[in-house]
Symmetry: C2
Subunit: 413 residues, 2 copies
């Protein structure tokens, strides 16, 4: 048994370091690497300074890290310094690479700068550390792969979709990277998803079977949104036994035992049955519809929805009776039920989900605090309403509402 290759991810960019942009690349790369069996030691966000990037790459090289991925700093401006920093860390020159130059020239139709400046930009973006192999650009900037001793450095751009596309390509095409990934073994792992159970309770149930470390299993618990994600690594038979124990104790709180996400479970169930869903959203403003359509294939089951942010829309488009709104208010179980029924009727769907609540920070009052959210589910077996009192700020209340609404649908399917 050889040890898993070790990796670090270096996210460069003052805009990320200063929180102006949320990094999405570090999580993407570490997820991909983790799935391939590479051990990611750290993801570090550092600034746009040449010496800072050089030192971080150099430190990883001197520690014998097998794979060093950098993101960002490949653009045309003077603070795009990653190629120069990697060259400096590796003790290499930074010549213009003719292959990269041809790629950049083929991509630069959209650049609206003058000719002299454009030429300088192209040459800058085509300058790679000596000995590197170019990664063809998905957008405008090429990346590169550079082998230094036993380490492989992969230099990728900052725009997330470019990074995603170029990583997929290079991880299948580049001989040095393919060889490195070939030394990793994909972990024997099972992901279990649990809803409606507290983290403490889950730990207690796990410990009934002597976990952690029961029968050579490693486990980790991650709480996100309204669910717990339990990762089991190690002996598959022991994992099966522990899973049976969990299901016995926690019942259908264990909603996924093979890693399938809530969203994928709903999509596949609806698609398989030929059923459809519609939404009626107030405080979430469309975010539930956006989540239901985030993955490809949503047109098989998603009909659409009505964003009824104002009461007039609840009345006019969802058919919520004005008297009901007067008596109970828009944030009420009655309104959630009427919204779900109204959406199902207006959109002709098998199922409908409704959300009405007080996301805050304003709008709360006596008996109706910020965080009070009513969810409705209309469907073939009738209409069901849930009341939730979420803690947290506006963003958190909206996120929690989405997760709870999808679980409400799941429980109906």
């Amino acid at each position: 048994v050889t040890a898993a290759p070790r990796a670090v991810v270096l996210v460069t960019g003052d805009e990320v370091l200063r929180g102006r942009v949320s990094d999405r690349n570090g999580a993407h790369l570490s997820r991909r690497l983790d799935a391939a069996g590479v051990h990611v030691e750290a993801v570090s966000i550092i600034g746009d300074r040449l010496d800072g990037i050089r030192d971080a790459v150099g430190a990883a090289l001197s520690r014998g890290i097998d794979l060093i991925c950098t993101t960002g700093g490949l653009g045309p401006t003077h603070d795009d310094l990653t190629m120069a920093a990697v060259a400096a860390a590796a003790g290499r020159d930074l010549p213009v690479d003719p292959t990269a130059l041809a790629m950049v020239e083929g991509r630069s139709a959209g650049i609206d700068a003058g000719p002299a400046s454009a030429e300088r930009t192209r040459r800058k973006q085509a300058s790679l550390p000596f000995g590197a192999s170019v990664i063809p650009p998905a957008g405008t900037a090429p990346g590169c792969v550079l082998t230094v001793g036993s380490s492989v450095i992969v230099v990728l751009p900052g725009p997330p979709w470019e990074l995603r596309a170029m990583w997929e390509a290079v991880s299948h095409d580049d001989p040095a990277l393919v060889a490195l990934l070939g030394r990793a073994s994909v972990p024997d792992e099972r992901i279990v998803r649990i809803h409606g159970i507290g983290e403490s309770r889950l730990v207690e149930v796990l410990e009934e079977r002597g976990a952690p470390a029961a029968g050579g299993l490693m486990f980790g618990v991650c709480a996100k949104d309204a669910e717990l994600e339990l990762t089991l690594r190690g002996d598959a038979t022991a994992a099966d036994r522990l899973l049976n124990h969990l299901v016995g104790r926690l019942g259908d709180g264990v909603f996924s035992s093979d890693g399938t996400t809530l969203d994928a479970l709903i999509a596949s169930t609806l698609t398989r049955r030929g059923e459809t869903v519609a939404v009626a959203e107030s405080c979430t403003g469309g975010a539930l519809g956006a989540r239901l359509t985030a993955a490809t294939g949503a047109s098989a089951f998603m009909r659409g929805g009505i964003i009824a942010y104002s009461n007039a829309i609840k009345r006019d488009l969802l058919g919520v009776e004005p008297g009901l709104l007067d008596r109970h208010g828009a944030v009420s179980a009655e309104c959630a039920a009427a919204m779900a029924d109204g959406a199902r009727a207006a959109l002709g769907s098998t199922w409908a989900l409704s959300v009405t609540g007080i996301a805050g920070p304003g709008g709360g009052g006596p008996g109706k605090p910020v965080g009070l959210v009513y969810l409705g589910r209309g469907g073939p077996t009738g209409t069901v309403v849930e009341e939730h009192r979420f803690r947290g700020d506006r963003d958190e209340v909206r996120r929690r509402s989405l997760a709870a609404a999808l679980h409400l649908l799941r429980k109906g399917l």
Copy 2:
């Protein structure tokens, strides 16, 4: 002039390091620290191992970093180790803090574990490094502030809303942290937002005035979504002059010169005028509505919308003629215009925005490739349509569509 306090942010958690959860805390803290004039040197994501966290905190202490913020690892499970790691790095014991214990007991009503396990959990979550002052929990886990030599360590929880609330509290309440932040001076900075101009073109225009470093100005350019964010730091008069130059050369591509975001600009303009907006969304599935309602105060201008993911909904709820759909298809300028007009009529709003396109990866065809998106704007001065051909994957095409739709609205206001 004293140097700005230096900070590092240590994000702990295998689930973050392995990309199962996207970190939002690092960006939040670095944005808050940057705005306060603290220089964030790095944001590092590290695993849940005691020695790894201890070593990272210890390295920052030995480098004399003024402020070390940790996030995550304060939960009840065995892999929640941050308090123990910070104590080890500081050479302190880890006693149960009576104040923290009382807070945890007051918060534990929601914990559904048995009594013995719950007691152990509470004592674990109330154990702080000796000499630390407790940060009252927003959720269930308290944090702490610990002064070690000239460094201040702030230990915060992982759930983003808890972290946000506890940071706001402690940054105003804790004497050591308040003193540290008092030594920072808020930077003299101007943020300029530009739309429809390439990064290369912007750099060229900046260089006409001798920038970078023109008249003692520092600048940085950050490309995100469909805009460029230009940050100018230094002499305010020089910044004014450079800004005038930019406006002269780039016209109303410069849509914000005081940092106001596109979203805030739209919200304030609509609110001030007493105008309203509605949306009609196909490929974005509700994400435009979600974005328009993400900030508080949206009920002043947002009426709602129709998510018309299927053609039947475009026809039935937005009044798009079946003949139009047959002749031009749902992804067409004609359909975008009809959707915007239909939403404006159905929702009675001043303005309406529509989105119809092919987000991919499937659904493209000859003449209608993935990334083809039509946007419509209905309003008092008529209906306008834009055609876009976005590069990127599904997520990117949807994001770009939102940004372009909001810019289309802005240009109409």
